[in-house]
Symmetry: C2
Subunit: 303 residues, 2 copies
């Protein structure tokens, strides 16, 4: 059993970004495989997700909650465990804290997308939603060189703490949405990036909407962006893009998988003016990438 | 963490049968829910399965291997873990040994099917395949009153040990296949119940074929039986019946879910002469039933 503290000790934000990029590349190359995640509803509290993947000599299964109302009960939104088994012997090798892995890979995806899709002169980050995963998105972006940022959150203490930690500042939602790279990590019950917020050349990374019916960006704003996602199958069914896909406003041909951009198999940003939008729904191969890093850094885990 | 010994101490064979019957009934009533299981291939060794379910106030996820060649390497075919989380709080409550739970619920399903579908005067069991799960099928059938049995296995020591334990006897495959209730628990690479084995009034419980392409009964024999399964969606895709379904020889209307029979919503056996066949593919709701029994019997597990 490897707890949250051990996971964070084993994998820095910068390392999480590298591992996450590797995960997208391995998956794009077909070396790492990942069946679709399965949802188990647990009304009225939320749902559980079972997320398997295989690669790098192991097979993993993440069993994780999304219980959005839990913080008001003093409980975490994200809880569960990540099982790591040998793909050679089938033996269970380790059980990792699931919240820590999820935070690292979720935050890292925002940074990987910004490195690939933001303008070269992008300098500032606006973070909308400074909860646990928002915090790690900010840490990962800071780790890859974004030294300026605006933290916005209805809970001022969350925004304050994060801004202080990173040497960023706090601001309104509108201020955050005006930065070069805008990252949204909210529950997705209502849009937090509006058409009126859009500025030429921005990169948007939207991480919060992880199930059908959730959205952080107005549909009118989405269709004005060049669209990218972590994986089309998952994103079209249960992410930021899924409402537009259901409505017929977004088609497969308009959306590029991030792995294809990273591998050089598809274009990323094609002009300084266009607005890029990356829909992150969270992939099991990202968890796999972090899990491998944890195992490599942990003594006495058989491989 | 609750290990195999603790699982077997907490749940007797007779208790496993009752819990498994309850699981089929709750699932049939729609109270317990279960998305389809997900397979992760791990060539050339086998595969991993992720099996979630929810009911009785908890959500479970079983992460389990089927690595058929493992015994030749001194490793178990079935390994992994079963995670139990609160459906109220999302909190991870317990991690159970996965092989023990699998053995109990797999064996118990054979006994539940025999109680529901065998003739009232059925007295003897023939067991083809005396491995770990075969052994538990025999124990569960013995626990519900089958005092005579024939154990057949290419490995005579496995058949001997089980026959001695239960006061049954050893015999050939043909002898086992001639009994009132015939239970097959083999890897499913070749048929072990042939057309020439069939006798009027038998009940067949076939437990071994748990993935597409595996079969323990000749297709010509299957189509002479009245057919039952644990769940159509899973059985039609990856069980004993799936080859016949693919070939168009078996249709949905010919196959009855066991839960419907147990609930009195569908007929079971309709004559003393017909041969009933129960295709068990292994359901996550069965694992849930056993997990709840383990939790109730284990001190200091929060609920």
């Amino acid at each position: 059993m490897i707890d949250a503290q051990a996971v964070f000790s084993a994998v820095s934000a910068a390392e999480a970004v590298e591992r996450t990029r590797t995960a997208f590349l391995r998956h794009h190359a077909g070396e790492w495989v990942m069946p679709a995640k399965t949802y188990v509803d647990a009304p009225p509290h939320g749902d559980f997700r079972a997320m398997p993947a295989r690669g790098g000599g192991v097979a993993i299964l993440k069993w994780v909650t999304s219980f959005p109302g839990n913080p008001s009960r003093g409980l975490p939104v994200v809880a569960g465990a990540l099982l790591v088994s040998s793909a050679e012997t089938g033996e269970l090798l380790a059980i990792l804290d699931c919240g820590a892995v999820t935070s690292l890979r979720t935050g890292a995806a925002a940074a990987v997308s910004a490195q690939a899709l933001a303008r070269d002169d992008a300098a500032s980050v606006g973070l909308i939603g400074c909860g646990v995963n928002g915090g790690w998105a900010a840490r990962c972006l800071a780790a890859v060189g974004y030294s300026e940022g605006v933290c916005a959150d209805p809970r001022p203490e969350s925004a304050d703490a994060l801004a202080t930690e990173l040497g960023w500042r706090t601001g309104t939602r509108e201020e955050a949405a005006a930065q070069d790279v805008v990252v949204a990590v909210t529950p997705g019950h209502e849009p937090v990036i509006l058409v009126s917020d859009l500025r030429p050349g921005q990169h948007l990374a939207v991480l919060g909407a992880d199930a059908h019916g959730k959205a952080e960006v107005e549909l009118d704003a989405i269709v004005r962006c060049r669209l990218f996602c972590d994986e089309w199958e998952q994103a079209s069914k249960g992410g930021e893009l899924s409402t537009g896909v259901s409505a017929g406003a977004i088609e497969r041909s308009q959306v590029t998988d991030l792995g294809a951009v990273l591998a050089g198999d598809a274009p990323g940003r094609t002009s300084a003016e266009e607005i890029t939008l990356f829909d992150s729904t969270g992939l099991a191969i990202q968890d796999l990438g972090i899990a491998l890093a944890v195992l490599e850094a942990t003594p006495n885990v058989p491989r």
